[in-house]
């Protein structure tokens, strides 16, 4: 049985599995010669942006009025 996980853990699993694909992409670009190597910074930038989006989605901005209801 697959245990139900919270959103952060699901996101981390997705991000972790993406590292393999990102590594393959970077390796492919690096081996592809001088022109394709120029795309490596772009791939790294996109990965970092993805990480930032995961973290930003986790920030709770709600002000729920629990103590000062009345």
């Amino acid at each position: 049985m697959i245990r139900k996980r919270g959103r952060l853990r699901r996101q981390l699993v997705v991000l972790g599995s993406a590292f393999g694909a990102t590594g393959d992409l970077t390796r492919g670009l690096w081996r592809g010669g001088g022109e394709k190597r120029l795309l490596v910074p772009l791939a790294i930038f996109l990965c970092l942006t993805g990480l930032l989006l995961v973290l930003a989605a986790g920030v709770e901005a709600l002000a729920p009025f629990i103590y000062s209801i009345f």
């Binding site: 959103r7 952060l8 709770e60 709600l62 002000a63 629990i66 000062s68 209801i69 009345f70």
Partner: protein
């Protein structure tokens, strides 16, 4: 007024009480001056200080010209109050331990529910009972009681709600153990406590306020909101900045209390999940209980809960058939 006799117990011996407040076992007759039963024994010195504190400034108090419409409008702006009300069955028996001036008890006393509101401060209870009469609510009963010897019948309540109370007791862990018995198997405990991390912004504001001799209390939106209501402003100021007894607690600590008392941890409010969605049932188990995520979420509460003192809610369930 609704008959709550079967829900109350003698604080001296724990036996049942009749409507006349006569103990069926030890024969002690408990007084009810001004219609508010006094069901407590002598209290310790530290608790007496807290009692006097709230007797001099009942919390949270009422604004001038309050009404039932005002009470419901105030609750309506709180996602938590709406969720709490929506999650409780229409015929539930509810004990609010530490009801103060009674607003939550009065708000929850709808449909066929029966609510018993208990507090140590008689001044606060007098305001609560007066509001119940003004609003025409008769399914609530207010009782003067002490946490260490609660006058509640064993397993008589579907819900025990205790918010903003235990962190003002000398030993919150022991006080929590004392409230669990009133919940019936399958019932819930809703506990509101200052969070260890979310309380930090207020502690910082309090340090600045003390340095200035309480002349400047910076960045407190609740105080700003109550500028035109001196009594309620004073109640918030004293409760948050001048309280003689205060503790704060982490989610992990509260989960340990639940386990020690045979309760199942259900969830917290706000959810201790990063990016989690707003629940539609307070008593639905949380999606995950991952300690690192709970810790990160509590850091986030400094921002989302810090403006109103850092109080969070933890929900537990007593094992047994569903309510």
């Amino acid at each position: 007024m609704v008959d709550c006799a079967s829900l109350l117990a003698c604080p001296a011996c724990g036996a049942g009480l009749g409507e006349s407040l006569l103990c069926a076992d030890c024969g002690r007759l408990w007084p009810a001056p001004d219609g508010i039963a006094r069901l407590r024994l002598d209290i310790g010195a530290r608790t007496e200080i807290v009692r006097q504190f709230y007797d001099s400034t009942p919390f949270p108090n009422y604004p001038p010209n309050d009404s039932l419409a005002w009470l419901r409008a105030r609750a309506g702006r709180s996602a938590f109050a709406r969720l709490l009300d929506a999650s409780i069955a229409g015929d539930a028996r509810i004990a609010e331990i530490g009801c103060g001036t009674g607003q939550t008890s009065l708000y929850l006393a709808r449909a066929d529910r029966i609510v018993v509101g208990l507090d140590l401060s008689r001044s606060a209870l007098a305001l609560a009972a007066s509001a119940a009469r003004r609003y025409g609510i008769d399914r609530v009963r207010f009782v003067e009681a002490d946490l260490s010897r609660l006058p509640l019948a064993e397993g008589a309540f579907d819900l025990v709600y205790c918010s903003g109370v235990l962190h003002h007791t000398p030993d919150p862990r022991a006080a929590f153990a004392g409230i669990v018995g009133a919940v019936r198997p399958g019932g819930h405990v809703v506990l509101g406590l200052y969070n260890l991390y979310a309380r930090l912004p207020l502690r910082l504001r309090r340090a600045i306020a003390r340095l200035t001799g309480m002349r400047w209390v910076p960045f407190d939106p609740v105080l700003r909101d109550r500028k035109a209501e001196p009594a309620r402003r004073e109640a918030w100021l004293r409760d948050q900045y001048l309280h003689p007894e205060e503790h704060s607690h982490s989610v992990a600590e509260v989960r340990r209390w639940f386990a020690e008392n045979g309760l199942e941890f259900v969830s917290t409010y706000p959810p201790a999940l990063l990016g989690g969605e707003e629940p539609d049932d307070l008593f639905a188990p949380a999606e995950d209980h991952w300690p690192p995520e709970q810790w990160l979420a509590q850091l986030g509460w400094m921002r989302s809960l810090g403006h109103e003192g850092g109080l969070f809610v933890a929900v537990a369930r007593k094992p047994g058939p569903a309510v």
